[in-house]
Structures are given as C-alpha cells and as structure tokens.
C-alpha cells in the first residue's frame, strides 16, 4: 500500500517538474508563442475548447468512428481467426491475401480510399476496420491453436456438441490471446482514426490537428494533441477493464491482484 502511494506521489512530482522545465525553457529562451506556447496558455486553450464544446463535438465524431470501425474490424478478425484455426484449407486459401494486406502500410491506402469513397466516414471506417482486423485475427488463431489437446479430448469424452465445445471451452480458453489482440487492435484503431481524419476527414480530432497546424495555432494544436491522448487512454482503459473482468482467473491478472 505504501508503495502505491509513493508511486502516485512520484508521478505527480514528475509532472510538475516537467511543466516547470517547459515554463523555464520558454521564458528563459524567449521562445515565440506560435512555436511553443507556455504551459498555462495551453491549459487555458484546452479548458476553453472544452467549455465551448469543440472537444466534445469533434471527439464524439472520432470516438464513434473508432467504436464502429473497431467493432466491425475485430468482429470480422475474430471470425476469420476462428475459421482459420478450424480449417487448414480455409487458412491456406486466405493466408496469401492476409499477408499481402498485412505487409501494406494501411496508411498508404487512404489516398485510394479517398478516390473511391471521397472524404469522410466510409474512407475512415475502412482504414480502422483494416487496422483492427489483423491483430484480432492472428491472436484468435494463436489462442485457438494453443489449447492443449486433452481439453479437446475431454469434450469428446463428454459427447459435447460443437456448440458447447466452442462456447464453453474453446473461446474461454482462447480469451487471453484474443484480449491481447483486442488491445493491439484498439491502439491501431485510434491511430487509424486520427491519421484518416487527418488525410481524409472533414471532422474529428484528427481534422482539428491539421486545421490547427494550417493556422499555425500552437495552442489549439497542443490542446488537440492532449485531447487525442485522453481519448486514446480512455479507450485503452475501457478495454483493460473488460479484460480484468473476463480474465480474473488468468496468471497475468493473478500477479497484479495478489502481488500487492
């Protein structure tokens, strides 16, 4: 317990030291505000952007794009992974395409999407779906394949139906790996959303970033970066929360709950 408090205090102290350095650097070197504004100016701009609702409006657009794209992408990734793990034939048929798409930096596809679908939602969604798909698919295959054979034998001995074999044994057994895939997918989705809004968006936090940059408004830019960070953190934490609930039994969790 004492250790925990110590860590919290230390990280707060670190934050203040960081802000202090920032402030000191800006005042001592007379850095112009359009390059690096002082911390209080960024804070002020951040608060006012919350007050006038800009962050909520733009953040909401980014958030629901991520949620929809992540949902579709990881859902498809799960099924693709599930069927690949079940059937070698299916895996062999799709694996060259999977490799091809995976080797392509997804960002490079955005200009193409813009030609096909124009600026806005469809292009953004497509990129996020692609970003979330692969980590979930690959980890689902890994999870399903690493189930020890005797678990399968147990289900066979018990005359388990295919349905209960999958729902009561396979999916729960593969959950640690699937969750790991979902976490990577979430990080990738946030990056995908910001980058696609940046290149193909007319709304959202990513769009706000380009907009601020084009105006040389460093206050707005840094506030928008902060807002993106918060959004990313909130999404990552929510998925960790889900993981904590689902995997209370898993070693990776046990170490955390019993270690302190």
């Amino acid at each position: 317990m004492g250790k925990k408090i110590f860590i919290v205090i230390l990280s707060i102290v670190f934050l203040f030291v960081f802000i202090g350095f920032w402030k000191g650097y800006v005042t001592l070197n007379n850095v112009p505000a359009f390059i690096l504004p002082p911390p209080e100016a960024v804070a002020q701009s951040f608060v006012s952007l919350i007050r006038d609702g800009t962050f909520f409006a733009e953040g909401w657009v980014t958030l629901y794009t991520i949620i929809i794209g992540f949902g579709i992408g990881s859902g498809l990734g799960f099924f693709a992974g599930y069927f690949s793990a079940r059937s070698r034939v299916f895996e062999e048929i799709i694996s060259p395409y999977v490799m091809l798409i995976q080797a392509t930096p997804k960002v490079s596809l955005i200009p193409l999407f813009v030609i096909w679908f124009g600026l806005g939602m469809p292009s953004k969604l497509l990129l996020i779906v692609l970003s979330a798909f692969f980590p979930v698919m690959i980890n689902t295959i890994l999870g399903m394949r690493s189930i020890p054979e005797d678990y399968e034998n147990l289900m066979t001995i018990l005359h388990a139906s295919e349905r209960s074999r999958v729902l009561k044994m396979k999916i729960p057994m593969a959950t640690p790996q699937i969750m790991a895939g979902l976490k990577i997918a979430m990080v990738q989705s946030v990056i995908g959303a910001i980058v696609s809004e940046w290149m193909a968006g007319d709304q959202g936090l990513g769009y706000l970033l380009v907009y601020a940059s084009s105006l040389y408004d460093a206050n707005l830019l840094m506030s928008a970066i902060l807002a993106t960070t918060f959004l990313g953190l909130i999404l990552y934490w929510s998925i960790e929360l889900v993981e904590k609930r689902l995997l209370f039994w898993h070693e990776s969790r046990v170490a955390f709950t019993e270690g302190t």
Partner: protein, 254 residues
Amino acid sequence: MSEIIVDVKNVRKIFTSGTKKERKEFSALEAVSFTVSKGEFVSLLGPSGCGKSTLLKIISGLLPASSGVVSISETGTKKAPPFGFVFQDSVLLPWRTAFDNALFPFEIMGSKEKADEARVKELFGLAKLNGFESSYPRQLSGGMKQRVSIVRALSYNPPILLMDEPFGALDAITRDNLNNVLLEIWESTRKTVLFVTHSISEAVYLSDRIIVMGTKPGRVIKEVPVNLPRPRNEDVKLTPEFYASVKELRELLK
C-alpha cells in the same frame, strides 16, 4: 465378478506419416487382446512409447483402431457417456471453481438432478477436498487439482473409469497420498478401472490384475494377477507377496 465389460480383440494401430511418395508406417500396437471384468481394477504397465495412451484412446473412442474390435458392454445412460477419463494433467477449466469444474459434465450433458449435486459433494469428501469447493484451480496444488479431476470424471457416475498416468506429474509423497485416496474412492464406488502407469509399485498396490506391455511394436507381454488382500493400505507394501509381484514385473520389463 466375471461379467466382461471391456473386451479388446486383436487391436492394431498403425500411424502413417510423411508425404504421399514417402509414406512411413509405424506400428504402435500389434494384436492387443485382453478383457476387463465388472468392478475390476486393471493396470496397463509398460515402458514409455509402448502404446498405453494410444490403447486408452482407442478404447474410449478418441482414436480409431487400424484393425480389431473394442466392445464395451456398458453403454452408460441416455446422455451420460460410459467413460470417465482422467488425464495426466488435470485439464480443469481455470475460470471455474473446483466444484463447478466437477459439475461441468452436467452442463455439457444438459441435465443435472439434485442427486447429482449430492453425489459430487460426497465425492469431494471422499477426495478430501472439503472446504475447497469455491477455490479456483490456480489456488490448488497439483495433487488437489488431480483429485478434482478424478471427482469430475466420476461425477456422472460412469461405469468405467479410464486413467492415463494420472499421478505421473506428481512428487512421490503426493503420489502415495493420491493412491490411497483413489483406493478409498474405488472401494466405495467399485468402478471398473483401467489405469495406465509406468510405476511398478503403483500398479501392484492398486490393481487386481496387471497387463504388462512391451515396446517395438507395442504389445501385451503377459497378464499378471495381484492376489493381495483388500482393502489395502500402506502396510501391504511391506509384505513378501508385494515384493514378489514387484520382482516378477521387474523381470518381465527388463
């Protein structure tokens, strides 16, 4: 005591591997025949690789035989399978408590009666697991997990219990303890047991009859009856009869 429950006739198992052009055939079991009677405790004893696990899998229907027949005269009830299977690892579901793991078969069969739960409670007592019903597998020792696994295998009251080196991964002291627990459970349930081991003294201590297997190819060398009185306890291990059986088996396995 002579009603035959498991009848293995001329079972062969050939594993094929390699490519289509270069087919490799490996004979894991060669003309294996034996029977197990109702209520009998029979051990399969043999060196590593002689096909004990393969044989158990064929008997339980997990693997098809290449030729030969296995007939099981007990079919179990409508939904409940005729076998309980205990593996070398406990194969427990880590997100379920010990008790819920023991009840897992009922969830798969889709039917559970009051009496079933009561029987599982009783088995928990027999396996000396009282007080650990709501523990998760990670909170249990290896020996305890294996006891839960035995309780699970017996939960739906199958007529036949198949065990594949269930204590092979445990230390000697825990192993002796579990042998005694198993004997007690067997005395009070009188299941037909087919028990795989490569420990000679374990086989002698537990069994009515030992089927000695040899390797390359896997086959039955001899059947050795064990005529030690029942119920048995640790004292039996100090008798000359026990030594005689151990000695005979050691000679056979040389």
